[in-house]
């Protein structure tokens, strides 16, 4: 079978905020860019996020998700990005060839560089292993959001939400507005996982109870969900006996974490960080496979679309430089960046010895007040930044100047 192979400088996989920003910045840098997305409509998950709070960083104003998406799409089109929507990438190889499938047609793309921007998916009931029956009415929060905001389908009347992630909090308000009763939000950790503003405007405004240090221990109902059992957990995540109670409900939403969608990256030989489940990258967002870059939620989960977008723009510029042969320090030795005390992970995970600056994104292991984030090279402090509130749900960024290169084998990031 002979197949037509289309050649281009750069392919971006995924047309959400990160992918659109990567495509735009790469095209503006002079690369010929093809953006491939599996949905008919570009913009990714932004299209179903009809609430506002987007765009403050990127556009300096408060937008809803669909408005933010349309602006990003318009910018990409204006920059000359070729859009292949309704197209699924079924295979990516280390030599940067891709197999695409669209409307029953299969074709090959070959690019000098590839930017991974496939985003993430939600953790499901199966991954939590909640005991009980298997009735209808158990949804991930994002699925319920799609049904409510895109498909005009009512998900239920009396709702319990497991997990206090932002999508769950947003859905608590959304379903209240749609006439449902939200009986409570259940969170295993002793603190909420979502943004403080969403606790305030989505739960407090509607007197929706938030049960911290609790989880769902059993699901009841034959055809349709009838109730969930909720119990209190101790600091070691063991059920405290005698604390269980039943909450009658016909709908359970799960807002319990997101997983980067890296199936096609693995096949190309991209190494993943076990903590982020995203690629391990250097300061240019390049993975261990030369010419393959990663950004947005497929790299690590972001709190804000704006930050995924900014990261995408940086990755797109790097990938364009690689495509156009303008990346000089390709073969420089790498310095590993290690998460130290109080730090869960960092992105990037390594930096070229000759880099003169690196922007580090990281998450902390537990909430705290008045801390200082510190980046050290062999005990010598390269950068320190005070942080008033730290929280595992809040990503922190620190700019590390390393003028004249880094004279160490590893950098350590820690919180004190």
């Amino acid at each position: 079978m002979s197949e037509h192979v289309r050649e281009t400088d750069l392919v971006v996989i995924g047309g959400g905020p990160a992918g659109l920003a990567a495509a735009t910045s790469a095209a503006e840098a002079g690369a010929h860019v093809v953006l491939v997305d599996r949905n008919p409509q570009l913009g990714g998950i932004l299209n179903q996020c009809i609430h506002d709070g987007f765009g403050l960083h990127a556009f300096g104003q408060v937008l809803t998700g669909p408005e933010f998406a349309e602006r990003c799409v318009d910018q990409a089109l204006e920059a000359g990005v070729k859009m292949h929507s309704d197209t699924l990438v079924t295979e990516l190889n280390a030599d940067r060839t891709l197999i695409c499938s669209s409307a029953g047609l299969r074709y090959r793309l070959r690019a000098k560089s590839v930017v991974l921007a496939m985003g993430c998916r939600e953790r499901t009931r199966g991954m939590l292993r909640i005991p009980g029956t298997r009735p209808a009415g158990v949804y991930t929060a994002g699925t319920a959001q799609w049904l409510t905001n895109m498909a005009n389908v009512r998900v239920g009347q009396r709702v319990v939400i497991l997990g206090s992630g932002d999508i769950g909090l947003i859905m608590a308000r959304r379903l209240t507005w749609e006439g449902a009763e939200v009986a409570g939000v259940i969170e295993l950790l002793p603190y909420p996982s979502g943004l403080p503003r969403n606790i305030s405007q989505c739960l407090d405004d509607y007197d929706i109870p938030l049960h911290l240090s609790h989880s769902v221990t059993c699901i009841h109902g034959r055809d349709r969900l009838e109730a969930v059992t909720v119990a209190r957990f101790d600091a070691h995540r063991r059920i405290i006996p005698g604390t269980a109670f039943d909450l009658p409900c016909d709908t359970l939403l799960l807002s319990v974490g997101l997983i980067p969608e890296n199936e096609i990256s693995r096949r190309a030989g991209v190494m993943l960080d076990p903590i982020t489940s995203g690629a391990a990258v250097d300061e240019r967002y390049m993975t261990n496979v030369e010419g393959i870059f990663s950004c947005g939620n497929v790299l690590h989960i972001h709190d804000l679309a704006d930050w995924a977008s900014e990261e995408g723009a940086r990755a797109g510029r790097s990938a364009a430089a690689y495509s156009l042969g303008a990346m000089s320090n390709l073969n420089d030795r790498r310095v590993l960046i290690e998460p130290g005390e109080g730090i869960r992970y960092t992105v990037p995970q390594s930096v070229a010895r000759t880099a003169d600056r690196v922007l580090l994104s990281f998450r902390v292991t537990e909430p705290g007040e008045h801390k200082t984030a510190e980046v050290r090279a062999d005990g010598h402090v390269l950068a320190a930044q005070p942080v008033r509130h730290v929280h595992p749900a809040t990503m922190v960024q620190i700019e590390v100047p390393c003028k004249g290169g880094i004279d160490a084998d590893r950098l350590e990031v820690r919180l004190r």
């Binding site: 009809i50 506002d52 709070g53 005009n152 503003r197 305030s200």
Partner: protein, 130 residues
């Protein structure tokens, strides 16, 4: 002296504001700490006196590629008007195509604020049988 903790919801920073005031909160008597930007102070005062929220919801679309579009109040409206505004929009149906910024309702629930479209929905074209 009354002290209160308020989470500023104007942006995703979500500043924890420590608000204190004398007998009644006014622009003169209120002190706000913990805000990262100047808007936090105005927000704290407004939140104590007249809390406002932006309503973001959906309305039905006839003849579109999607059954509904998303809409928002063009500015925040008083919190106590949210229910009336939602009720007024429940019976609204738009005709495709609709574009971002299109007017959905003028002066919703007597708030003086308009409701506008936030997602483009194109017209659905039925495929003619050949």
């Amino acid at each position: 002296m009354t002290t209160k903790q308020i989470t500023c919801i104007l942006c995703p920073n979500g500043c924890e504001l420590d608000v204190s005031y004398g007998d009644a909160p006014t622009a003169e008597t209120i002190t706000v700490e913990g805000n990262l930007c100047a808007r936090g102070e105005g927000y704290a005062l407004e939140e104590l006196l007249h809390p406002k929220r932006t309503l973001t919801t959906s309305v039905l679309v006839r003849g579109g590629t999607q059954p509904q579009t998303s809409v928002k109040t063009a500015a925040p409206i008083p919190r106590e008007s949210l229910a009336a505004a939602r009720e007024a929009l429940r019976s609204t149906t738009l005709d495709a195509p609709v574009s971002i910024g299109d007017l959905v309702a003028r002066d919703i629930a007597d708030t003086g604020v308009d409701v506008v479209v936030t997602r483009t929905v194109t017209q659905h074209h039925a495929i003619e049988p050949s």
